[in-house]
Symmetry: none
């Protein structure tokens, strides 16, 4: 392969050990990776990820984070709601909700099942937890319609106040529960609320693409397996890393103009028109394949709500590119999460957990975008 | 506006950047704000907040915090009870109860619903949690009277021992529950226990002013929205920040001589006779509107109970002004909370949460009023 050969050549020149392969290329440090990309570009060789341009990540993060000392930004700090958490899973919705608060959201709500609520509440008194979802095992057939209507009415009471809805973390796959969540997604669309789809929400949406199709405020944040299933379902083929750029573009286009954030060594982000990558920071804990530790893709939610408000403000810096608030939010969220993961890894090494990464979110934001 | 013009003039003299407006006046640091207020007073111009005088905040806090090394003050550290916590909300009553302990209260009790109790207990083993309140969904019509009587009997067993009752944090708005809480308030009045009304307790009281009307030991601690609803209901007009002083005075007078603590950039405190402001310290996290993070208005409760005991003691410093223990308690509580918020913000910046502020309460008290 040309790419592998060029990489070898470059890294030999950069003084890296021989015995280099495509595999070790994937494991290079961000600095080595950036130098390598630069040299590949100088030689005019197409990179593995296609002609994707690297986002101006930190500047975008700074641009869409509202300053703390301006009253004109009052109320812009955001209210996030997470729909997820069932008898089996309680960690994921908690991580999503607490992450938003740690970055500066006003309020984080979680809508979960009755079993999950006391547990999620016990993780933190800072989160507002609504025990309203029901799973099939606790619902008689004749009660399904009335219970579904009640669940929807409870969420609707709050819907207008939310700046972003995160659907999926720890949701599970119970058919009755997913039916209710489909209705919640439809109502969020009617209220023009951005919807970030993650985890089991992606299982739901992959099987019911109409839920997000044609909705520009839908953001899908698949991990490797979820991305694979999406590609198989929508494009009817396998994931092709040789044309990662073209494939993610087709995927977003086929789903109808949604935004997709595909996590990986470089995060790829598209809104079906442009593709951006975010490669800075990142923790080797993920590269070494030790699990989907970066399960905090939902930090994107708060940045989407900020970007959405700021990009329509009269004093918005029109030089910032791209323009689409969902893609800006993804770039900022991805950048912050990568930075937090790298800080946590510096400290905790192999024992780094999601909780450690969340503890580093505040410091990471302060490092990139200090409060004046 | 005269005020804006004078402010500009003052700040230009003080070397502050041009481009100053009434808006940025609100954003000046406490030191700049105090200098500006002083200069405005020298020029005889009426300040935006009316002729409110700044409380001698730290001295009052020192005066009413009981020393630890005097046996005569034994038992004066206070017992606080919080009435709040329902299926939906558990964080707020926990924050109120733990804050009192962190400042030095002897005991903190929480009276909440059966669903909320295990969760609140799980936050901390330091709090005594009584799972006695009931919401409509778990009560049959024919049982309402007997359950209500039982709830009241449970609270009455403890009532005489409480130095202050905090009613409202995370109470919810269930009609049956609020009916029971109305009865609790009536019994507290009969026992002459100070009652601090917060959160959903203010929703209850705004709709049933008789509950607190004419009770000098009632203290209302509204946030922006709760204050707005009170003004609309009681004064039948909108909030007028041009005459904040006059309006809060009228409000307290109309409700019948209660004490009101209105939180804001400067906290305004009145007992319907005098108005004091507390402007020192404070965190930009709140100024930017990033939520009602300072939801710890209930720290006032413990100071009210201390002030109430100390102001009748023979060795009380009669030079301390004002004289009313509820207003003294509000000044001290407000001062401590602002200091704790500013310390927490120094450390945590945008990621500051209520938990972080509570962690700074002890250090803040020690800074202002060190144990000898």
């Amino acid at each position: 392969m040309i790419c592998s050969g060029v990489c070898s050549l470059m890294l030999i020149k950069l003084g890296v050990n021989s015995g280099f392969s495509a595999r070790s290329c994937m494991l290079a440090s961000p600095a080595v990776f950036r130098r390598q990309e630069f040299l590949i570009r100088c030689l005019g060789v197409k990179s593995m990820a296609g002609p994707t341009s690297e986002a101006d990540a930190e500047n975008i993060l700074r641009a869409i984070t509202p300053p703390l000392d301006h009253s004109k930004h009052k109320g812009q700090a955001g209210k996030i709601a997470v729909v997820g958490g069932c008898r089996e899973y309680t960690g994921a919705p908690y991580f999503a909700a607490i992450s938003a608060l740690k970055i500066g959201a006003d309020l984080s709500h979680v809508f979960c099942t009755k079993d999950a609520a006391p547990v999620i509440k016990s993780y933190s008194p800072e989160i507002i937890v609504h025990p309203i979802l029901e799973e099939s095992y606790s619902v008689r057939d004749e009660d399904r319609a009335s219970i579904s209507a009640k669940v929807l009415a409870e969420v609707d009471k709050w819907m207008e106040r939310f700046d972003c809805l995160v659907v999926g973390p720890g949701l599970g796959r119970d058919p009755f529960l997913l039916d209710c969540v489909s209705e919640i997604i439809k109502h969020a669309r009617e209220s023009n609320v951005p919807i970030l789809i993650d985890g089991d929400g992606l299982f739901l949406v992959t099987n019911s693409l109409d839920l997000v199709s044609g909705y520009p405020l839908a953001v899908l944040t698949p991990n490797v397996n979820e991305y694979k299933r999406l590609v198989q379902k929508v494009l009817n083929c396998e994931v092709n890393d040789e044309d990662a750029h073209g494939q993610i573009l087709s995927l977003a286009e086929q789903i109808g103009g949604v935004t997709i954030l595909r996590k990986g060594k470089s995060d790829l982000i598209t809104d079906s028109k442009t593709v951006k990558s975010v490669s800075i920071y990142g923790s080797p804990r993920r590269c070494s394949g030790q699990g989907d530790i970066l399960s905090g893709r939902q930090v994107v939610a708060i940045f989407i709500s900020w970007a959405r408000k700021l990009t329509v403000a009269p004093d918005w810096d029109t030089r910032i590119s791209p323009k689409n608030p969902t893609i800006l939010g993804c770039i900022a969220g991805s950048t912050l999460l990568r930075k937090a993961a790298s800080l946590a890894f510096e400290d905790k090494k192999r024992s780094t957990l999601t909780t450690d990464i969340i503890e580093c979110l505040g410091r990471s934001l302060e490092d990139i975008c200090p409060v004046k």
